[in-house]
């Protein structure tokens, strides 16, 4: 995933790649998982946070993913692309989470804000309001579309990697991204105009 980034590539020549680390974990050197955890915990946490809107649940899901990595480590194929394998596990953890949470609060009502005691300056208030609007629009998308956009926009997965992850053609992913963005744009504009509460 980082082949086009020379700086990252340079760093990777000196430190083991994700794939090499996962191969070590698979072969019994499970302590190497700590390096993968340090590399991925924030990215994975934000992936789940954008899907669930719930900080505590997102931390639980990150923990769940690493437990699953240990559980399924022996099935890791050395020629796999690590990030595709890893996000497949993350998706499965999220699906199980949704099954358990079925029938509970809508996502935007679950979002637990960090209490803030200081008044925000006007610019920060505007940025905060904007982010809140985007978050609410994202939460209103159907879960598959939301997941697709989060993978594409925030997890830096390429379209071909997402296609591999979802088990479909690249052309299908492109069309789905297009539709998801159009829906998000419509929802965002509705929220901005106050048409949706």
């Amino acid at each position: 995933m980082n082949a086009e980034n020379p700086e990252r590539e340079k760093t990777e020549r000196m430190s083991p790649t994700d794939n090499e680390l996962m191969e070590s974990v698979r072969d019994g050197r499970v302590e190497k998982l700590a390096v993968l955890f340090e590399r991925y915990q924030t990215m994975l946490y934000n992936f789940f946070l954008r899907l669930t809107g719930n900080r505590a649940a997102s931390e639980d899901l990150v923990q769940d993913v690493f437990m699953r990595v240990l559980k399924y480590r022996t099935g890791y194929m050395g020629d796999s692309r690590f990030n595709v394998w890893f996000f497949q596990i993350a998706r499965n953890a999220h699906i199980d989470y949704l099954r358990k949470r079925k029938g509970t609060l809508p996502l935007d009502e679950q979002y637990v804000e960090t209490p803030s005691h200081e008044p925000l300056p006007e610019a920060a208030y505007e940025a905060d309001r904007e982010a809140e609007l985007v978050r609410r629009a994202l939460d209103r998308l159907p879960v598959q579309k939301r997941e697709l956009l989060v993978l594409f926009r925030f997890q830096n997965l390429k379209l071909r990697e997402i296609a591999e992850l979802l088990g479909c053609q690249v052309g299908t992913v492109k069309a789905q991204v297009h539709r998801a963005l159009k829906d998000l744009s419509r929802i965002y504009l509705d929220l901005q105009k106050g048409n949706v509460s």
């Binding site: 000196m14 302590e31 900080r55 022996t74 963005l181 998000l184």
Partner: protein, 271 residues
């Protein structure tokens, strides 16, 4: 190029992954087609809007839980190898849910017994008065600290991580607990225990002496993940006194490139 073919390229257009010829095709089409032009304009706006969502950091407890889980798993693997049981993930998790380790079992049982007795005492007294509740709460905190200290002195790294977990759950740690956490950070042979200590001390960052101890500790740590955790801590609390320690760290020859980079970034943020 028709509308359908153009729209297929929108995703790559937004990420900048289209080659020169592809970009020219799209631009030529949207000049002639108002619907597609409007489409790409709205998509570009919403694509940019998504960028305003900030990246958040998970709480320190996540790292602590992960390392405790990893230690448990490694212990489970070791036990499996010793008893030559068939390989499989389940045995390790049985250990996770059963208290096989005597030190932890004894301490945890004592803790549960104390909480149970305290609750019974409170109920028998008819729940009268917040004073009793306050006293009970304080005694539970004291007991938690004692369990934490007891576990921190155990030979097993898993026990010591559990001990840090108990200590971290205390609202107002006493000097003994803080000293035990500093000692774990500076002297524990297991880097996972040292990482858990950083997370626990983050919770007590407002206590006198905590930040100074962490600045000092940065100079003696040699494990990259612990170094990074300490740098993150000091940057997050904007500890100006850390600048000198970061400069010294950056000059160390044996520093890994990742840690050096993080230290340099941290220094810029602090100064």
């Amino acid at each position: 190029m028709n509308c359908e073919r153009t729209q297929e390229k929108f995703a790559d257009y937004l990420t900048g992954d289209l080659d020169e010829a592809g970009r020219t095709d799209v631009q030529r089409h949207i000049l002639a087609c108002a619907a597609c032009r409007e489409d790409i304009e709205s998509l570009t706006v919403v694509w940019a809007k998504l960028g305003v969502l900030p990246e958040e950091q998970p709480g320190g407890g996540l790292r602590h839980r992960f390392y405790a889980m990893l230690e448990e798993y490694k212990d489970g693997l070791g036990a499996q190898e010793k008893t030559a049981r068939p390989a499989g993930g389940l045995a390790g998790w049985q250990d996770w849910f059963t208290f096989r380790r005597p030190a932890f079992a004894a301490s945890f049982s004592a803790f549960l017994l104390f909480v149970g007795l305290g609750a019974g005492w409170l109920l028998n007294g008819g729940g009268a008065g917040g004073g009793r509740l306050t006293t009970l709460s304080r005694e539970v905190q004291d007991m938690r600290q004692q369990v934490g200290l007891s576990l921190l002195s155990q030979p097993s790294a898993t026990d010591r991580i559990q001990g840090i977990g108990y200590s971290a759950a205390v609202e107002n740690p006493n000097d003994k607990t803080l000293a035990a956490l500093f000692n774990a950070l500076d002297n524990d042979p297991n880097p996972n225990v040292r990482l858990a200590a950083v997370d626990a001390l983050y919770l007590f960052r407002t206590k006198p002496g905590v930040k100074e101890s962490l600045v000092r500790s940065l100079a003696i740590q040699n494990y990259p993940l612990v170094q990074v955790a300490l740098i993150d801590f000091l940057v997050e609390v904007r500890e100006a006194r850390a600048a000198e320690a970061l400069k010294l760290l950056i000059e160390k020859n044996e520093l890994t490139p990742e840690v050096k980079k993080r230290a340099e970034q941290g220094l810029k943020q602090i100064v």
